[in-house]
């Protein structure tokens, strides 16, 4: 009796048990707590919050633990939870100009109002293993630890005063899109594109951004400014009619300044690429800014010929929850379609061999096996 597909229920239950055991690892080693993950694997937690579009360090830490450190799985966990949450409304736009800075650097000016502030960065560390475990944190950090108090205008504001950089588009009456509530449609406006990029897979964007630097849709970028710190989130409940602060979140913002030689309607000036990410997520903010600018190519009247300049290509494939789902669904049974292809292939081979036998002289090329990919 054929039993291969039977017993699905028992197999699933057993798989869940095995998974729980694997997740725990050697029981003689103490289990990691959610708090430990939140405090010591902060960059993993930040990435999960960013790509899951939910700012909640505790839940993100729990997701990282439950996912055994697989960040895409953790992002998926948090997204699946996020989608069940009721939507109270939209917060006021955050003011990153008023950010309490912990890090702020500009690659375009040596010194500028507000100064350069290196902050906690890997940038100038030597990637050498510390003997034993990582060095203990110094109890008294040297240098400035108080957040910058003086006003720190964005670098692009300084450029804007001289008209050297394109003005930010004035806010229009159109409500900002929401890709978690409305299906993505093309052509997509910049608000929707930025949302897509904000929750996009960092690795995918990194590769695409890199491709623009290597010549596939060059944008001549300068890191005008990268800043990281805390901003306040405010919400205006309809029944109150005034702003209520909800709390503070950590953000990383990147403004790229890109060369632009001008077009029929615009004089030569710098153009903007913008990136914003939850937590300290510097690489993500940078590649987002590079991609934002690349995706504006068409709007700016430039030829858009490379993958990174193609909004439909980038936005349709940048979501790692969608991408990993569809790629990994190939693990599901496809017996029925495979059977159909098997029968066709046998038929095509029989026909081919028959034709070969009949016309040995004629050197027929082998038929292309361009059957559709199994889905």
């Amino acid at each position: 009796m054929y039993v291969a597909v039977k017993g699905g229920e028992a197999a699933i239950a057993a798989a869940h048990e095995l998974l729980a055991r694997e997740r725990r690892g050697d029981p003689s080693i103490p289990e990691i707590s959610v708090e430990q993950v939140r405090e010591q694997l902060t960059l993993a937690v930040n990435r999960v919050m960013c790509e899951a579009s939910l700012y909640d360090p505790d839940l993100a830490a729990q997701a990282v633990l439950q996912a055994r450190g697989d960040l895409i799985e953790a992002i998926f966990l948090l997204r699946a939870y996020r989608t069940t949450l009721p939507r109270l409304g939209y917060a006021q736009p955050v003011d990153t100009g008023a950010m309490q800075l912990r890090r702020r650097i500009s690659a375009t000016y040596k010194d500028l109002p507000g100064g350069q502030l290196l902050g906690p960065t890997f940038d100038y560390t030597h990637r050498l293993f510390d003997p034993g475990s990582p060095a203990p944190a110094p109890s008294e950090p040297r240098g400035r630890v108080q957040p910058v108090a003086e006003p720190t205008p964005h670098v692009t504001v300084l450029l804007d005063r001289e008209g050297l950089i394109e003005a930010n588009a004035a806010a229009d009456a159109k409500p900002v899109g929401d890709i978690t509530r409305d299906p993505l449609a093309f052509p997509a406006d910049r608000d929707v594109r930025l949302q897509g990029l904000a929750r996009a897979d960092e690795g995918f964007l990194l590769g695409l951004a890199y491709s623009t630097q290597r010549g596939y849709g060059r944008t001549h970028p300068f890191a005008g400014e990268i800043r990281m710190g805390e901003v306040e989130v405010a919400f205006t409940p309809e029944e109150l009619g005034f702003e209520v602060p909800l709390g503070r979140i950590t953000l990383t913002e990147c403004e790229m300044v890109n060369q632009f030689s001008g077009s029929a309607h615009a004089p030569p000036q710098f153009t903007r690429g913008y990136g914003l990410a939850f937590g300290h997520s510097e690489r993500k903010a940078m590649v987002m800014a590079l991609l934002d600018r690349a995706l504006r190519s068409q709007d700016l009247g430039q030829a858009a010929k490379t993958p990174a300049q193609d909004p439909e290509f980038v936005l349709s494939h940048c979501d790692n929850v969608q991408a990993s789902g569809f790629v990994e669904h190939l693990k599901l049974p496809h017996y029925v379609d495979f059977q159909a292809e098997l029968a066709l292939l046998r038929q095509l081979r029989a026909e081919w061999l028959l034709a070969r036998g009949a016309t040995c002289e004629a050197s027929e090329p082998a038929p292309d096996s361009d059957g559709e990919a199994a889905r």
């Binding site: 998926f76 299906p183 017996y335 059977q339 292809e341 098997l342 026909e351």
Partner: protein, 292 residues
């Protein structure tokens, strides 16, 4: 979190279900047209049937009887998993009997037992766009649908014939709905295509990752694309099912040893099981059962 979250009936919140039902109604009003909808992340991955699950969740009521099949079978792992999901989140009655179900969610097959008036068949759809592999851009294909410009697909089928002497598409075989919209039947084998035509059941198609819903209202004309001199041909099997002897069912090939031994059995497990007692009574034999 101190208290475990409590989920709504059939998981999705009522607001979301209403949004999805509006998309379904629009889809029913325009048979074969792909309606965009704000697909949610479900607690199973995209590609595992999230579109079908969202459609089922939106139409499910407490008195519904649900059947879930994958590859025609009720006991494939993903069918088991989805059935559990609804049994757990909606506490509804489930069944494996096609005739008893009010809603049947399926991946890759249409049941062999003819569907009845009042039943709803929910398909899980990976790629809703029948023109996708001929033209990957949504901006282009939507325009082609708007203009009913399906020359590209006809050329593809013609090229098949020119190259192979016949149409070399065996599943996800494109259909024309009510002489207006070209539709992907989801990757069901073309064997199942004729069952869609004038079906008394409502057929709903959900593509979660691609954020599209489309539908066939009951008694809709659904014709597989073909040419006058190359009419559509349904897949035929040379042997009957080794378990139930059916000659009118779609069969799976089961490899029984490493010396080329194989048997063919019904992919629709419910159909096969229902037939077996009748067959045993009929010919008093159990030939199919011990095929090795």
């Amino acid at each position: 979190m101190s208290t475990p979250p409590v989920y709504n009936f059939a998981y999705l919140d009522e607001q979301t279900k209403r949004t999805i039902r509006r998309a379904i109604l629009k889809a029913i009003a325009i048979p074969g047209y792909q309606v965009p909808f704000p697909s949610r992340e479900m607690p199973m991955p995209f590609g595992w049937g999230t579109g079908g699950v969202q459609v089922t969740a939106s139409i499910l009521g407490p008195n519904d009887v649900l059947k879930v099949i994958d590859q025609g079978a009720d006991d494939t792992t993903n069918a088991v998993s989805i059935r559990h999901f609804f049994a757990r989140t909606a506490a509804i009655v489930t069944t494996t009997r096609t005739s008893e179900a009010t809603i049947i969610q399926t991946r890759h097959r249409i049941p062999e037992t003819p569907l009845k008036d009042g039943q709803i068949l929910v398909y899980q759809v990976p790629i809703p766009e029948p023109l996708r592999f001929l033209e990957p851009r949504e901006t282009e294909t939507r325009q082609m649908h708007a203009l009913a410009d399906y020359g590209l697909m006809h050329v593809k089928l013609y090229e098949d014939i020119a190259r192979h002497g016949h149409i070399a598409t065996t599943y996800a075989y494109p259909v024309m709905v009510d002489q207006r919209y070209l539709m992907d039947p989801s990757p069901t084998p073309k064997f199942d295509n004729p069952k869609m035509h004038m079906s008394p059941a409502l057929q709903l198609f959900g593509a979660g990752r691609e954020q599209r819903i489309y539908a066939l209202p009951p008694y809709t004309r659904v014709l597989s694309l073909d040419f006058e001199d190359h009419p559509f041909e349904r897949t035929r099997f040379t042997a009957p099912c080794a378990l139930c002897g059916a000659t009118d069912a779609y069969l799976d090939e089961v490899v029984t040893d490493d010396r080329g031994g194989r048997m063919f059995v019904c992919s629709d497990t419910d159909y096969c099981e229902r037939r077996r007692p009748a067959r045993q009574a009929g010919d008093g034999g159990e030939r199919g059962h011990e095929h090795r």
